[in-house]
């Protein structure tokens, strides 16, 4: 099948060296492509706004200043947005995790009479939904519009996370359950005392999936709570800035939006504010993901293998 070369063996051939070198160069270019847009925003966010208009800011600020951050954190609205973003991330992950784990435990019990039907009821939701308008009207009828709980309740359990958790619980040794049952433990006791402590890896994975999802959500704020300033989130605030700058002439000084100066004559521009907000809205993710990515990867492969 293969042509036999003159020099078989395990030494690095000329071809290997060329291949490896170009592969490494390719990977370095790839990493630059992945990181550059973000690092560029970091540089812009700590560079003087008026100076940034001149262009030529790439990876390093030319005139370093914290002024853009001071301007962003000068407004009370940002603290409210951070508060709601953090709150929905924590509550969404906590409550979602608990509910998902409980249902997953039940449908992982081989003897449970509704095991199959409940599993199917949940899995079906992966394939269809009522759509935007009917869901919107349902939220209105449930009086969830204008409330914090519209961020939590509609996405309480995701079928994908449920399946990941069920697979994990099904993989736990059944002998532990059996001996606990013989000792007279009920399902709630087994769930809290045995299954939850044993499921920490998968709980971490699902908690992270939900937390990232909650942190990154902006559409439900836009849809249900766009007029409720006390329920705004960081992502939604950034989205408003983005929409404003794309309708005005691409972020130059001419656009009046967000242009302002304080006593010191320091200017901020939409471009610098957008860069700063981009960093503020993504910093928590950037900080945690390198440490937690292995959990994500585990969840991804678990979910795919099912």
């Amino acid at each position: 099948m293969f042509k036999r070369k003159k020099k078989p063996g395990f030494m690095r051939t000329k071809e290997d060296i060329i291949f490896d070198t170009s592969n490494i160069i390719f990977m370095i270019i790839l990493c630059v492509l992945m990181l550059y847009p973000f690092l560029n925003q970091v540089a812009l966010s700590v560079n003087d706004a008026t100076d940034s208009v001149r262009g030529g800011i790439y990876l390093w600020p030319r005139e370093f200043t914290w002024h853009n951050y001071e301007h962003v954190f000068d407004k009370a609205a940002i603290y409210q947005a951070i508060f709601i973003s953090v709150l929905r991330t924590i509550i969404g992950a906590g409550v979602g995790l608990f509910c998902t784990a409980m249902v997953a435990y039940a449908i992982a019990q081989p003897k449970f009479m509704f095991k199959r039907s409940i599993t199917i009821i949940f899995i079906m939701t992966m394939y269809f939904n009522g759509g935007l308008i009917p869901t919107f009207l349902l939220m209105r009828d449930l009086q969830l519009i204008g409330s914090f709980w519209v961020y939590i309740l509609p996405t309480l359990i995701s079928a994908f996370n449920l399946i990941i958790m069920r697979s994990f619980i099904e993989g736990l040794p059944t002998s532990i359950f059996e001996s606990a049952r013989i000792d007279g433990a009920g399902d709630f006791r087994i769930f809290f005392k045995i299954v939850l402590p044993l499921s920490l890896p998968v709980l971490a994975t699902v908690a992270l999936f939900v937390a990232v999802f909650q942190w990154n959500q902006w559409f439900d704020v836009f849809l249900y709570n766009s007029s409720q300033e006390h329920l705004t989130t960081l992502q939604y605030e950034l989205m408003k800035i983005l929409q404003n700058s794309s309708t005005t002439s691409s972020g130059d000084m001419a656009s009046a939006f967000a242009n302002s100066s304080d006593g010191g004559g320091n200017m901020v521009t939409p471009k610098s504010i957008q860069a700063t907000m981009t960093i503020v809205a993504s910093v928590p993710i950037i900080m945690v993901y390198p440490f937690l990515q292995r959990y994500f990867v585990k969840g991804m492969t678990l979910g795919a293998v099912k």
Partner: protein
């Protein structure tokens, strides 16, 4: 669902001397803890996920929010007929299909290529760093991603600077202001965001390939490229086929976040897809019935596609999703 409850009842009646309804109630009592654990969430899923489907009735009405259900005026397929004779919606349909197809092809080719190339890296530390960096954009929200994309593509952005510097263009291009570029920009943005993440599953498949095959091929004098094409890629074959079939099932689901966030008045003819159309007609223009009709069309077609894709996948011996 039906079959499921039937089989459980059957197994009850064979194991249990009590038959029929009494056996069922006894079983309920035995498993009441499990029922308490699930029933509230079954009610939740019915309300939040199944009940909205009832709202599809709006697609056949001239829905007015102020009126009750019995007072609504029924108009049959009027909204669907309007959609399919409306040039704007036909354009929206074209955009949806084109965007998904571009994302599908680009997504597969780039993720598979990346997985193969990452697998060829011999320095473990470098490999891990590359992988970690390649996932990064996946965890960012689309709002952040859209902010980054629009910044890179702005008049004074890096893309214009590089192209000007290399002499490919003579004056800056407002990339997001030209409709014809939108599909390409969207494809590039999706690839940038998801290629590293999508490569994970292929890397997992590659790790299952028997290492002895590589050694044997090496002894036979197969080159690196030959080993990739004759061992690595065939090793991923079944994963590729399953994912390909499943993704074809999602052909009308081209997403809405990047299209909505990067779309603007100048590129609307190429950026607007079904989801964005639904948002605009439904939320901004309050034409609930038309928006629901468009959304319903999308969901029903997607569902049919998914069922077909799933059974195709099962027929090909690759196992379905459910």
């Amino acid at each position: 669902m039906q079959a499921g409850s039937n089989t459980t009842i059957k197994s009850v009646s064979t194991k249990n001397p009590d038959k029929g309804i009494r056996g069922f109630l006894k079983k309920c009592k035995e498993q009441q803890a499990l029922l308490w654990m699930t029933i509230p969430f079954v009610i939740w899923v019915v309300i939040f996920k199944y009940l909205p489907v009832w709202g599809w009735s709006m697609a056949f009405q001239n829905y007015k929010p102020a009126l009750s259900f019995s007072e609504q005026e029924w108009v049959g397929f009027k909204h669907f007929i309007f959609l399919f004779t409306d040039d704007r919606f036909l354009g929206v349909l074209r955009n949806t299909l084109a965007q998904s197809l571009i994302n599908l092809v680009l997504g597969f080719v780039t993720a598979i290529t990346l997985a193969v190339l990452i697998n060829e890296l011999s320095n473990m530390k470098f490999k891990r760093v590359v992988q970690t960096i390649s996932y990064l954009p996946h965890f960012l929200s689309w709002v952040v991603a859209a902010a980054l994309v629009s910044s890179v593509l702005s008049i004074d952005g890096i893309i214009n600077e590089i192209l000007m510097g290399l002499g490919f263009i003579n004056e800056e291009i407002l990339w997001l202001g030209v409709g014809e570029y939108f599909w390409g920009i969207l494809g590039a943005a999706e690839t940038w965001k998801n290629v590293g993440w999508n490569a994970i599953i292929y890397l997992a498949a590659i790790s299952m390939v028997d290492q002895e095959q590589y050694e044997a091929a090496k002894i036979d004098g197969a080159s690196r490229i030959q080993r990739i094409f004759h061992i690595t890629i065939p090793g991923m074959k079944s994963v590729i086929i399953v994912l390909l079939i499943m993704n074809i099932g999602y052909i009308l689901e081209s997403g809405f976040e990047p299209q909505y966030l990067l779309g603007n008045g100048q590129n609307v003819e190429y950026s607007e897809n079904i989801d964005v159309f639904v948002i605009k007609y439904g939320i901004s223009m309050f034409n609930f019935s038309l928006a629901t009709a468009a959304g319903m069309f999308k969901t029903v077609i997607s569902f049919v596609f998914l069922i077909a894709a799933n059974s195709l996948s099962k027929k090909m011996g690759q196992g379905g999703l459910y």
